[in-house]
Amino acid sequence: MIEIKNLHVNFTHANSTSAALSLAHWQVAAGAHTLVLGPSGSGKSTLLNVLGGLAVNINDGASVTVCGVMPYQISRSARDALRAQHIGFVTQRVHLINAISVTENLRLALRLGGNSLQKADENTRIEAILAHLNLTNKASVKPTMLSVGEAQRVAIARAVIKRPALLIADEPTSALDDANALSAAQLLLDTAKQHGSTLVVATHDARIKHLFAHTLNIGATL
């Protein structure tokens, strides 16, 4: 599913360049659930950006393969299509589109993901995932009316509703208390399992470490 070799990503500042991430070799099998650990600034988010085809300044000799595609060897629009169809993101800071309802947020994710479902099928899938995440009663409300935990669950629903091959989550539990942190992590694992998605979670939150079979310690590689 994922294979990275000889990766070096640099941050360019005004007059200087500093290393953000270096990775000699990393491989993740399809369907695996991997935790990327490391302190703040260790390059976890950068790694997730690399996987999503969002990184700039990666070295010429790097080899990155995601979902069988080398995202940095294809055009920008093809990279957009790869991300739209095969990769689901849960960002560090939950951000839903406040102008539209929870249901419409999920429908938008489906459509942007290139699904060609009929509206009735879309509704069925939306209702199912909202029920699974215990959000049925929030279907028609705007995201501003959700609690932090509810918004987090909607963000996860939005990332998985298109049933991506790869699900990426960046610090999904950092802003949550213990109970909610475990609940959110478990939810990610459950939904990834349910849809057969490969899951990569970047965090510095040790509370959820025990839930994952595979880990990558970014701090150790720097």
Binding site: L54, A84, T91, A99
Partner: protein
């Protein structure tokens, strides 16, 4: 996602974002609508006024009246909007009509009105001039018979057979002196022509003269003087016994004099004016002239103005001159309207730019979800387009309402039958201009949305 899917999604998002900032959206739309409405009102008023004046002056090459302002002669004699400059002697008109350069001359004698509708003494040729046909009844054949225009019939509820009493004066407002002893009877109602014919009451010339004939017992009444009249009060000066005292009052500002003739002396005039001794004392207000040859345009007005006590006024020239005078005001209004529209477009630009500043996290999320840069740009462009379209359409609707209100409020615009129902092709251009401004206003924000850097936007959250 195909193009239709992209546009459909962008449209849905644009609509949602506009609804989200409802107050700003409404203000943007109203600002644009007011500018568009102003332009539409100016367009509708000027177009309809020009059209109405063009129709009313059609087939009239020259108007001859008493010495005074040519424009006033045109406004009073053709459009029935102003007061006449005075009267002219019938014998002068008769002499003029002998000129071979004149094909036809239609006399007009004005001075009375009925509930705001002017009563005009003339000949059937006046009806023919505007292609008038009868909806009911027929043309007047003897004194005190009246033919009424379609609009007069509708607004005043007059029908064939109805009797009414005209009043002295031709201005709007209450009449001060009714001619109760000389009721007029409607004998014909004209079909609508969309010309001045629709809003006047027509009688023969003898009616005008008879209505103002003095009763026998006041035959020694001191003669009337017309301080503003350009023509001598010939009847009073020469024949006090026949004179009719037209005490000038505020409402009687038409400066006409009516000599009083015996029935035997009454005669029809028109393109076959025949002089008689009695005609020496008669007056009319104006003469509408059609040339026999285009050459007359170069000769006749100058000849009349230089050699007689008459004033010649060329409708085509005076109308152009009048609109030339009004043009400064029209252009000023248009400039203000355009400035308002540009300000509205700037308002849209500012609103979209501000929205974009707060929308970067949304844009980043949308890109993560698979939105293409084109979709983000299209969303902003559609927002600008929607604001412009709604503002433009609302402005056009308001402009038409405004024109209808102005048409009903002002006596002059009411006379010119100005309304809000006409749709001008130019209005499509105004709407298109609005849409273009909307797209231009959204262009820069749309480009910025297109270029949004996802990783930077996510990092900035």
């Amino acid at each position: 996602m195909n193009t239709i899917g992209t546009l459909s999604t962008a449209f849905g998002l644009a609509l949602a974002y506009l609804k989200q900032r409802f107050f700003a959206t409404v203000l943007n739309i109203l600002l644009l609508a007011m500018g568009v409405a102003t332009i539409i009102v100016v367009l509708l008023l000027t177009h309809q006024a020009q059209q109405a004046m063009g129709r009313d002056a059609k087939n009239i090459d020259l108007v001859v009246g008493a010495k005074g302002s040519p424009l006033q002669i045109i406004l009073s004699s053709i459009y029935q909007l102003d007061v006449p400059t005075g009267n002219i002697a019938l014998k002068d008109a008769q002499a003029l009509l002998k000129n071979p350069l004149i094909k036809e001359g239609i006399p007009l004698s004005m001075g009375d009105s009925y509930r705001g509708a002017r009563i005009i003494g003339t000949t059937p040729a006046y009806i023919a001039l505007y292609g008038g046909t009868f909806a009911s009844g027929a043309v007047f054949t003897k004194p005190f018979e009246a033919v009424i225009g379609a609009r007069v019939a509708a607004e005043l509820g007059l029908n064939v057979g109805t009797k009414f009493v005209g009043a002295h004066g031709i201005t709007q407002g209450p009449a001060t002196q009714a001619h109760g002893e000389h009721p007029l009877q409607v004998v014909g109602v004209l079909a609508a022509t969309q010309t001045v014919l629709d809003r006047v009451i027509l009688v023969n010339l003898e009616t005008v003269w008879d209505v103002h004939a003095p009763p026998a017992n006041i035959s020694t009444t001191p003669v009337s003087t017309k301080p503003i009249s350009a023509t001598p009060v010939s009847a009073s000066a020469k024949s006090p016994a026949k004179a009719h005292n037209h005490a000038r009052d505020k409402d009687h500002d038409d400066d006409h004099d009516h000599d009083h003739e015996s029935d035997a002396a009454k005669k029809n005039i028109g393109n076959n004016l025949v002089a008689s001794d009695d005609d020496d004392h008669k007056q009319i207000t104006a003469l509408l002239i059609r040339y026999a040859t285009p050459l007359a345009a170069a000769i006749l007005p100058r000849e009349i103005n230089s050699q007689s006590a008459l004033q010649a006024a060329v409708p085509a020239y005076e109308t152009v001159r009048m609109f030339g005078l009004l043009d400064i005001g029209v252009k000023a209004m248009q400039a203000i309207a355009i400035a308002m529209i540009i300000a509205a477009a700037l308002g849209i630009f500012i609103a979209l730019s501000q929205a974009l500043e707060t929308r970067y996290p949304d844009l980043a999320q949308l890109r993560l979800l698979g939105a293409t840069p084109s979709l983000l740009a299209a969303t902003l462009a559609i927002e600008g387009l929607l604001l412009a379209a709604v503002g433009g359409i609302l402005g056009i609707a308001l402009g038409h309402i405004g024109a209808a209100v102005i048409g009903g409020m002002s006596a002059v615009s009411n006379q010119l039958q100005i309304g809000g129902l006409l749709f001008l092709p130019m209005e499509w251009a105004v709407l298109l201009g609005c849409l273009l401004l909307g797209v231009l206003a959204a262009l820069l924000p749309a480009l910025r949305a297109y270029r949004v850097d996802i990783s930077k936007a996510l990092a900035a959250q």
